[in-house]
């Protein structure tokens, strides 16, 4: 197949033109019947720079690449109903014409392999006996990794599943006894010939805007788990790596990035929480565990160091670090800085929202409510129970999301200064008055509100960790409006990240299980879906005022997918 394509390219080089592509490489994707293929992803990668760009074909199968350096690129064309086409070391320069052909006569195996994880997950979910178990599985598993990707859909014996589920519980994803009992049999459908026949059926296709250009900078850092990013006013993009104690700074203009190691002095693996029974993934080398960041008005970056149980300030000028260690709670995670340069951050293990004014100090905290007395008790005893589990030979906790601790997940500051948070295990979102510390909570229409952002009108957007629902909350009416992600089959995806931005409060959502980035237009109530490479999980999103979307991708475990990447999606005017 590759030889045929190479011959075609050789024949057509210099003779094939695409209207409007005067100085950029362009081409067209046809199938074996010479019919154009719309919605295909065309990706070129320069491995020497860790750089890639992806564009999408229009209804006539046409695509135009952005300006490229004259070089050899690894070229890949993907489409849900076709074999993936790979051409390594393809010389591409301005005005290069690419005539590529996809083969529609893909085998059932090839079609099944081309499906995103959520298609495989659908087979498993169908075999679970209740919505309760389906929701539990989605919430407890897809918060960390995809379900149905090649690593998780392997056929396993009952005993292997039992052992694996026990390991997942120690890593922070406990399942209830009921789901532990039914999961092995349900998962037996995993990667079988029958499953592949089902998945070979034609599916709904993505509808990416063919004008969009996705650019990727892969972080050459084995084991990296980037979890948050921010765009600095000076144009650099910063991301934190929770597994390797690193801060990355990308220069989009030059296409290069720097790595700043976060000093951990002589801290042990696991930092503040180091203990014999602390169960971290085997690849993790973290002592500080940075998990969020934001930029202060003086240009300095503040980071939460979850494992270090501290805040850190990084001054990009002299490249110096200072720490704030005296926190009033445990496990600082999501961080935002308000207009008065006060830091607000979640304290996940002690169910608090912390606040710190660097000019006035010291750090303070607001205790959040719990849904039940059991949650309140569990949270109140969090330091003691955490110590016991980490140090003592007590059995692994057989707790599920229904009785788990209340803990804040997302945090966002609205334009009026109100501090919003979500509590997935309590089914709540809430607002803290920044002046009085008073807390007001609102029950969400789904049980596990996780990612949360505010729009320019003061409305709150929140996604469910246990389903494909997301919602808009209007504080003036206290009403929620809900939608479902467009991913098919329905119910197989959750939001891995959510952002709100220009223009007109556009919503962007990463599909945890579908390898997609989705744009939602609230006015039209319409979605545009951008396919990303297989096994790609977008961990965080942010949007610039001009509408440019930035994201960072990464897998847990890291080897479940491609290397962590900083992504930029632009749609030229």
């Amino acid at each position: 197949m590759t030889q045929i394509i190479t011959a075609l390219i050789t024949i057509l080089l210099g003779t094939y033109t695409v209207a409007g592509a005067h100085d950029r490489a362009a081409g067209r994707i046809d199938d074996h019947l010479r019919k154009p293929v719309a919605g295909a992803s065309v990706t070129v990668v320069d491995p020497s720079r860790g750089w890639s760009t992806t564009v999408y074909t229009d209804q006539l199968g046409r695509f135009t690449l952005p300006e490229l350096l004259d070089a050899q690129y690894d070229l890949t064309v993907t489409h849900p109903d076709h074999d993936t086409l790979r051409i390594p070391k393809r010389p591409i320069a301005a005005r290069t014409a690419l005539a590529l052909r996809l083969d529609l006569d893909a085998t059932a195996d090839a079609r099944a392999d081309s499906r995103a994880a959520n298609h495989w997950l659908a087979l498993l979910l169908d075999r679970l006996p209740s919505d309760t178990q389906r929701r539990e599985l989605l919430q407890q598993c897809t918060s960390c990794h995809q379900l149905g990707n090649p690593a998780t859909r392997r056929a396993r014996s009952q005993s292997a599943w039992t052992k694996l589920v026990a390991l997942m519980a120690r890593l922070g994803g406990p399942l209830t006894p009921a789901l532990r009992e039914t999961l092995p049999a349900a998962a037996a459908v995993a990667d079988t010939a029958a499953a592949r026949q089902i998945l070979a059926q034609p599916r709904a296709l993505p509808n990416p805007d063919p004008a969009a250009i996705v650019t990727g900078w892969t972080l050459n850092a084995p084991g990296a788990m980037p979890r948050a990013l921010t765009v600095h006013p000076d144009g650099h993009v910063y991301a934190v790596d929770v597994a390797r104690d690193a801060l990355y700074r990308l220069d989009p203009e030059r296409g290069t990035y720097e790595t700043f190691a976060i000093p951990s002095k002589d801290a042990a693996l696991g930092g503040h929480f180091a203990a014999p029974r602390l169960r971290l993934p085997a690849t993790v080398t973290a002592r500080t565990g940075p998990s969020s960041l934001d930029v202060a008005s003086d240009g300095a970056l503040w980071l939460t160091l979850s494992l270090g149980n501290a805040l850190a300030r990084f001054d990009p000028g002299p490249r110096t670090w200072t720490w704030e260690r005296d926190l009033p709670g445990l496990f600082p995670a999501n961080l935002r800085i308000d207009l008065h340069d006060r830091l607000w951050y979640t304290l996940a293990l002690s169910n608090q929202i912390g606040t710190f004014d660097p000019a006035r100090g010291p750090a303070r905290a607001v205790r959040l409510p719990a849904r039940t007395w059991a949650q309140a008790l569990a949270t109140g005893l969090a330091p003691e129970t955490g110590y016991l589990r980490a140090h003592a030979a007590v059995p692994a906790p057989s707790i599920g999301p229904d009785i788990d601790r209340a803990a804040p997940a997302a945090l966002e500051i609205a334009h009026d200064g109100g501090v919003w948070f979500s509590q997935p295990n309590a089914g709540l979102i809430g607002r803290i008055d920044p002046h009085t510390g008073a807390t007001e909570t609102f029950d969400t229409p789904f049980s596990a509100p996780r990612h949360l952002r505010c729009d320019a009108h003061g409305r709150v957007w929140v996604s469910d960790a246990a389903s494909d629902y997301f919602a808009r909350f209007d504080p003036t009416t206290t009403q929620f409006t809900t939608w479902r992600l467009p991913t098919e089959p329905a119910g197989t995806d959750t939001a891995s990240a959510l952002a709100v931005g220009a223009p007109a409060d556009t919503i962007w959502i990463g599909g945890a299980n579908s390898d997609t980035l989705m744009r939602f237009d609230p006015d039209q109530e319409s979605f545009t879906t951008y396919p990303l490479p297989r096994e790609t999980v977008v961990r965080a999103l942010t949007i610039e005022p001009d509408g440019t979307v930035w994201g960072v991708t990464g897998n847990t475990p890291t080897w479940h997918g491609p290397g962590p990447t900083i992504l930029r999606l632009k749609i030229p005017n």
Partner: protein, 124 residues
């Protein structure tokens, strides 16, 4: 039968881990996941797990031990030994581990760039 269930973890320089739930990767293979109830090999004084690497890439290797199950024993610390033969060099360590404890880097070492590319080596 093994007295306890200890799991072997080998993490290669590309940050891929070979262990019971990912027993075969592009880097190597876990020969057998020994679990409670499995018979011991004839003549063997205790259970052992072995990872065989296909190629030895330069970089940092981590060998970890996880005490996942006490089987029929009382929950007491047990002794373990690790031996790694990589690129013609043997690395060894010993220790004790308590139930529920995970030592992600019980043994850690670096294969220099000029010692890579050997075949068939492993950690046990």
């Amino acid at each position: 039968m093994p007295a306890v269930d200890l799991d072997l973890y080998v993490t290669t320089p590309d940050a891929r881990t070979i262990y019971f739930a990912s027993a075969a990767t592009i880097d190597g293979t876990l020969r057998h996941d020994v679990a409670c109830g499995d018979p011991l090999a004839p003549g063997a004084p205790c259970a052992s797990e072995t990872v065989v690497l296909r190629t030895i890439a330069p970089g940092t290797y981590r060998v970890g031990v996880d005490f996942v199950d006490v089987c029929a024993e009382s929950p007491a610390p047990v002794a373990f030994d690790i031996a790694a033969d990589l690129a013609g060099i043997r690395q060894e360590t010993s220790g004790t581990i308590t139930p529920g404890e995970f030592r992600p880097a019980a043994l850690e070492f670096v294969v220099p760039a000029d010692r890579g590319a050997a075949h068939g080596d492993g950690a046990e």
